[in-house]
């Protein structure tokens, strides 16, 4: 049910944005828009299914953990 709603939402947004870009002959923008939209769609579907969505903050946390250990705030 939720997946259906997501699909409808994405189709609506693409039909809202893409025809304008095509009529203005902006090829690069159209490609960027579609690529990012596909990525966003994938993210939405992953969030709705039982697959655990990766948390980007965990990656940054691993990057800065050593610094925090050195300066020892808290």
């Amino acid at each position: 049910m939720r997946i259906t709603f997501i699909v409808i939402l994405f189709f609506a947004l693409v039909f809202y944005e893409l025809p304008v870009l095509i009529s203005e002959k902006r090829k690069a923008e159209a490609i960027a828009f579609i690529t990012l939209m596909l990525f966003a769609f994938l993210l939405c579907v992953i969030r709705q299914t039982s697959i655990e969505t990766p948390n980007p903050l965990d990656w940054i946390l691993h990057l800065y953990k050593p610094l925090n250990d050195i300066f020892g705030v808290r």
Partner: protein, 369 residues
């Protein structure tokens, strides 16, 4: 003529900076700072304001060398296509992170304090919709609206403080400087990471400003800092040691307003201030993000990618903070370093690259003679 249409003026720029500095900090900082610096957190804010004024000089210096270029273009010009691109991608992740966290925080506040039964993501989506709407209308519209909203925010803020004066007790901030100096420095670092460091996103907005100068940048930052300083000081004066039990101290002091049992429960006034400021922070962050993305991929119409990026930010905002313990751990220990890297170290790196390049080109000219 087209320059005048697409650019904001000095005054609007100043208001945007002060609204951006107030942002979510007005709600978040009193509580976060009290955890480390206790009743001396107002001292930490003064140090933090000083630090952010110093960093603003750095940012403005960088933008004066390249007045027409945004951050992404400057880093590509100075550091080359690949390394500069890497720096830009790091920066864009920082900005996207900012949008995501602000969406989460705006939902969290309404969910905890105003409408507890509605799911958090509903507010994030609402906020994202008006954010996209504002950015698609353009920076000039945001700047003009800021002139009206800033007046509203200032009036309501002064009203709130004036009504709270009878509740203040000076004994609550005594003894001054009781907390160790290390904690105060840490707290000022936290202040800087939330209010001062993100000002780096104005490097994306400076090319769209008419004659940006030193005065408006610093004055805007100072006014914003003053708002947070006054809020935190009032929180400490009114609540005292009770501050440790409050999730949102600055919201709960507004509940304490009581004038002869006639004017009571005016906390939504505070919520209005917060809505306006967080909206501006969110919209400017989002503007910088999509502007940066479109500069990186050399797109001429930057609003075309606003919808997918907004959807990505909303989805990520539901995963970033699994619980409040993680949230405060992140904001107190990891985020200051992250913000410091993006807001201070990278601009210094770019300035160094600029000076090295200038020296090298001077030497080349001498040799060719």
């Amino acid at each position: 003529m087209s320059d005048l249409v697409n650019k904001i003026n000095q005054f609007q720029f100043m208001l945007l900076i002060s609204l951006f500095t107030v942002g979510n900090s007005i709600l978040l900082l009193p509580e976060l700072l009290y955890r480390t610096a206790y009743h001396d957190s107002w001292l930490a804010i003064i140090i933090g304001i000083g630090a952010s004024l110093l960093i603003n000089m750095l940012l403005l210096k960088l933008s004066q060398f390249y007045p027409d270029l945004t951050w992404v273009e400057i880093s590509e010009k100075l550091l080359g296509k690949w390394f500069g691109g890497l720096v830009s991608v790091f920066m864009l992740f920082y900005l996207l992170y900012g949008v995501t966290v602000l969406l989460f925080l705006s939902g969290q506040f309404i969910n905890i304090e105003i409408m507890p039964e509605t799911p958090l993501v509903a507010f994030s989506i609402t906020m994202a919709v008006i954010m996209v709407f504002g950015v698609r209308l353009g920076l000039v519209t945001l700047g003009r609206a800021a002139e009206i909203f800033f007046m509203l925010v200032t009036l309501l803020f002064i009203l709130l403080l004036a009504l709270l004066v009878p509740q203040m007790e000076l004994t609550n901030i005594k003894p001054v400087l009781e907390t160790p100096i290390k904690n105060i420095i840490h707290a000022s670092f936290v202040y800087f990471s939330i209010s001062g460091g993100p000002l780096v996103c104005f490097l994306m907005i400076l090319p769209n400003t008419l004659r940006p100068n030193f005065k408006s940048f610093q004055l805007g930052s100072l006014i914003g800092g003053l708002f947070i300083f006054l809020t935190t000081l009032t929180c400490i004066l009114v609540l005292g040691p009770n501050m440790q039990f409050e999730t949102y101290p600055s919201y709960s002091i507004a509940k304490k307003v009581n004038v002869e049992d006639f004017i009571t429960r005016i906390e939504l006034i505070f919520a209005v201030i917060w809505f306006v400021t967080i909206y501006y922070k969110l919209a400017l962050y989002f503007y910088a993000t999509i502007k940066g993305f479109s500069d990186l991929f050399k797109l001429s119409k930057f609003t075309s990618i606003s919808l997918p990026i907004a959807i990505i930010a909303v989805v990520l905002s539901t995963v970033i903070f699994p619980d409040t313990a993680y949230e405060s751990m992140w904001l107190l220990t990891i985020y200051p370093f992250y913000s410091f890297t993006a807001g201070v170290i990278l601009p210094i790196l770019l300035l160094c690259a600029h000076f090295i390049k200038a020296v090298v080109s001077k030497l080349m000219v001498k040799e060719s003679r």
